[in-house]
């Protein structure tokens, strides 16, 4: 029987989903918990839509069934909407408030999605929007967006913040540890607002 806490990460190839998935996996190991996951590798990473499945306490299959993810961490708001059907009842979408317009939009002349309509459509699900671009810049590097998102989502994960932070310190390049530690804390502060709002609601 499956008793896993499923976390789906989605974004665009190159945004650091693989590192983010490793951070969650390492944190599980630090807490002595089993974990299974799956991710997109290979050419699909070339700017395409990518997904990372992490099943905390998972023992069998690596794939999260649609409608079963307790948390979705989206590095791009358009991708959050693309994968929103994976969310379990009572789950939470933690999404970057920014998005990249796919080149296909221009090539195929399909309508350009706009921020306002994306926000509106996403608000059909429990949603925590995080300015990951801005917070990462504040932490000191645009590249720390993935760690900002983990920080924001940490309120909704069954993992201790210390386990996550420990995994971050072990996995990010040595010279960026300080930046990433800050990115995690700033992300966590941003996520706390969502938690408070949710509890108030």
């Amino acid at each position: 029987m499956s008793t896993s806490f499923d976390v789906l990460m989605v974004g665009i190839g190159g945004q650091g989903i693989i590192l983010a998935s490793n951070i969650l996996g390492e944190a599980c190991l630090a807490e002595g918990r089993s974990v299974k996951g799956a991710e997109t590798h290979g050419m699909a990473q070339r700017g395409g839509s990518v997904e990372g499945h992490i099943r905390i306490d998972g023992k069998f299959g690596p794939l999260i069934p649609p409608g079963s993810a307790r948390v979705i961490i989206a590095f791009d708001m358009l991708e959050a909407l693309r994968y929103a059907h994976f969310l379990a009842p009572g789950g939470m979408i933690v999404s970057n408030s920014h998005f990249v317009i796919p080149t296909s939009v221009y090539m195929q002349g399909v309508p350009v999605p706009d921020e306002k309509s994306l926000r509106e459509r996403l608000s059909a699900w429990p949603l925590c929007l995080v300015d990951a671009d801005g917070i990462a810049a504040e932490a000191g590097s645009f590249l720390s967006q993935n760690v900002v998102m983990i920080g924001a989502a940490s309120w909704f994960l069954p993992l201790k913040p210390a386990s996550l932070l420990g995994a971050i310190e072990r996995l990010v390049p040595q010279k960026t540890v300080e930046i990433n530690r800050k990115a995690f804390e700033l992300g966590r502060a941003a996520g706390e607002k969502c938690r408070t709002e949710r509890q108030g609601a």
Binding site: R46, L63, L78
Partner: protein, 593 residues
């Protein structure tokens, strides 16, 4: 012993270190590539390792190392086994002395492949044993033990993980790497290694005689197991077994197949204890066919009666639906949900600054009515740019081009192929095209690396798998040696020269080769090659859309006009195609996203 969070392919590589492996070869192919990539990065290695130029070459190198008594690993993707099939089939006859493990990674759903073939069929075809892991831990343990299994039966072992094993992750219990001490030496034995008819007839008999003991051993070793719990049974193999285990109720028997050939006697004994049986597996109904052969009057469900799909991959959710349709209530009920459907797709695309894009752009302008055979690599994405008319298998751009030309199509036939793919299996096709007088143009997209699978070096790169120096092959000399008299090399970022070269090629008779050479833009970035960035002058931009149509991910529309984002790598081709002259090299350097 320690537990680590590992990628499936990392776990497989680690299993090889624990065996330990002495000799490693492979040709990159998703989802197999990381195994050699990890093993070649291990410091202070005690084993030989190479990226080979193709799978046949990789297999034969590994086979001969195993003939010398070494433990050898050879990795490839499933379609690579087609290339290596010639030596594979006869290696079952010659057998091996040291353990030989052939990792052929299957790709259900063709995430990154041209077909959904099943490597287990090669095991049946060749009569070689095949191990089929259902998860990462099992993949690690199986490959670690596969070398000894190979030595026990003197047969190469096919190891067949699938994408959801290779590219999944999990907590994995691993052991300590073992230091290699073996030294290879070839012992002459023509009756074993020279497969003339007189020898091979005897070897074939020996191969068949090994089968009964092999089947028994795979059950005894615990690869094929049965837990009898009720009157209904589910038989599953590979990753599908993990999906079944996740949701199977306690009153249904579970028969797990992890290795082939399956012992029919054992299987019949398990199946006969049930009233009905469901077989769940991905790709070819290999297990189902075996079950149906021994089931007698017991009804069997699976692909052949439409309960399990033939195509694509399975998942816990799809297996739950399969169990339901078979009459088993799965332990989990998944809510019915469906994705939002009106979103713009985000397929993978060629990188900003990729050298392939200007080649496709120029090709389509010079040969407006051309036919464009292409090949396997990042450049297959040229499909989105209308520059890829055919792709079938490695090296076939060249032969499809010559075939179309000889078939009588009078249009310009312009084929594209990458450097690695050309070296893999394009050369014989070129030799043949010249020899038989085809009229065609071959553009070699030479970015000096095997980019798509993760930037593995090849004979164009100047380095070996381990980073040691190696002579860079001259594609120009190679093509000339094949008999091509018109060979030109051009910088694809120089659009004027590129177009002029293609126009010149158009007028020449016979086979013409254009080599377009620029380093892969990802490699250039890693090597700290900085070209600056380009920007659009909004006052000059006429919003004509020409640069947008170029399809570079760094070019967006903002307020109807073109805008170049931080993704720009400075190739400068868009500045050359802008009719208004509105794109120029950026003067300021701060971020502007």
């Amino acid at each position: 012993m320690k537990t680590q969070y590992l990628l499936g392919n990392e776990a497989i590589a680690h299993g090889c270190l624990e065996a330990p492996v002495d000799f490693v070869t492979g040709y990159p192919g998703t989802p197999s590539s990381e195994v050699v990539d990890i093993l070649r990065a291990v410091p202070d290695r005690g084993y030989y390792i190479e990226w080979s130029v193709n799978e046949k070459v990789a297999f034969e190198n590994a086979l001969s190392a195993a003939w010398c008594g070494l433990r050898a690993l050879c990795t490839m993707k499933h379609v690579g086994l087609n290339v290596a099939a010639d030596p594979l089939m006869t290696s079952a006859y010659t057998g091996v002395t040291g353990g030989l493990v052939v990792m052929s990674a299957d790709d259900p759903f063709a995430h990154s492949s041209q077909n959904e073939q099943d490597s287990r069929c090669y095991a049946l075809f060749s009569r070689l044993p095949c191990l089929d892991p259902s998860g990462i831990q099992e993949a690690h343990d199986m490959v670690r033990d596969a070398f000894a299994l190979s030595e026990q039966f003197s047969l190469p072992v096919i190891f067949r993980p699938t994408t959801r094993v290779c590219h999944s992750k999990g907590d994995t219990l691993i052991g300590e790497p073992v230091r290699n001490t073996r030294k290879g030496e070839f012992h002459k034995d023509p009756r074993q290694y020279v497969v003339i008819p007189a020898h091979t007839r005897i070897l074939h008999k020996k191969l068949n005689e090994k089968q009964p003991a092999l089947k028994k051993a795979l059950v005894e070793k615990g690869y094929n197991t049965a837990v009898i719990r009720g009157r209904r049974a589910v038989v599953a193999s590979g990753i599908a077994a993990a999906y079944v285990q996740e949701i199977l109720p306690d009153d249904v028997s579970f028969i797990k197949i992890g290795a082939y050939p399956i012992d029919e006697e054992w299987l019949a004994a398990q199946v006969s204890r049930h009233e009905k049986v469901l077989v769940v597996e991905e790709l070819h109904p290999v297990v189902e066919e075996a079950v149906r052969q021994v089931a007698g009057t017991i009804p069997v469900s699976g692909k052949k009666n439409g309960v399990v799909p033939y195509e694509g991959e399975l998942s816990t959710a799809s297996v739950a639906a399969i169990l339901k349709s078979f009459g088993i209530n799965p332990g989990e009920d998944y809510p019915a949900t469906s994705p939002v459907t009106d979103l713009p797709p985000r397929p993978p695309i060629l990188c900003a600054g990729c050298m392939h894009r200007p080649v496709f752009y120029a090709m389509r302008r010079v040969f407006r009515d051309g036919v464009y055979p292409s090949d396997i690599g990042c450049y297959t994405l040229g499909l989105q740019l209308g520059a890829v008319d055919t792709t079938i298998c490695m090296g076939a751009a060249v032969t499809v081009a010559s075939g179309i030309a000889h078939a009588g199509d009078s249009r310009d036939i312009v084929a594209t192929i990458g450097d690695s793919t050309f070296l893999h299996s394009g050369i014989p096709g070129l030799l043949n095209a010249v020899y038989n007088g085809a009229r065609m143009i071959l553009i070699i997209l030479d970015n000096r690396i095997t980019a798509m699978t993760g930037h593995q070096p090849n004979p164009c790169s100047g380095v070996t798998a381990c980073g040691g120096p190696s002579p860079q092959v001259s594609l120009e000399a190679l093509c000339r040696a094949c008999g091509v008299s018109w060979v030109e090399t051009v910088d694809p970022y120089d659009l004027v020269s590129l177009m002029a070269t293609l126009r010149a090629a158009k007028d020449q008779p016979g086979v013409k080769v254009v080599i377009a050479r620029q380093p892969c833009v990802i490699m250039a970035r890693r090597a700290n090659l900085r070209r600056g960035r380009f920007e659009v002058d909004p006052a000059t931009c006429t919003a004509c859309g020409v640069c947008i149509g170029f399809g570079c991910p760094a070019i967006e529309k903002r307020d109807d006009k073109a805008f170049i984002t931080d993704l720009c790598s400075g190739c400068g081709v868009c500045a050359q195609i802008c009719p208004a002259g509105a794109i120029r090299k950026e003067t300021r350097t701060e971020g502007k996203r």
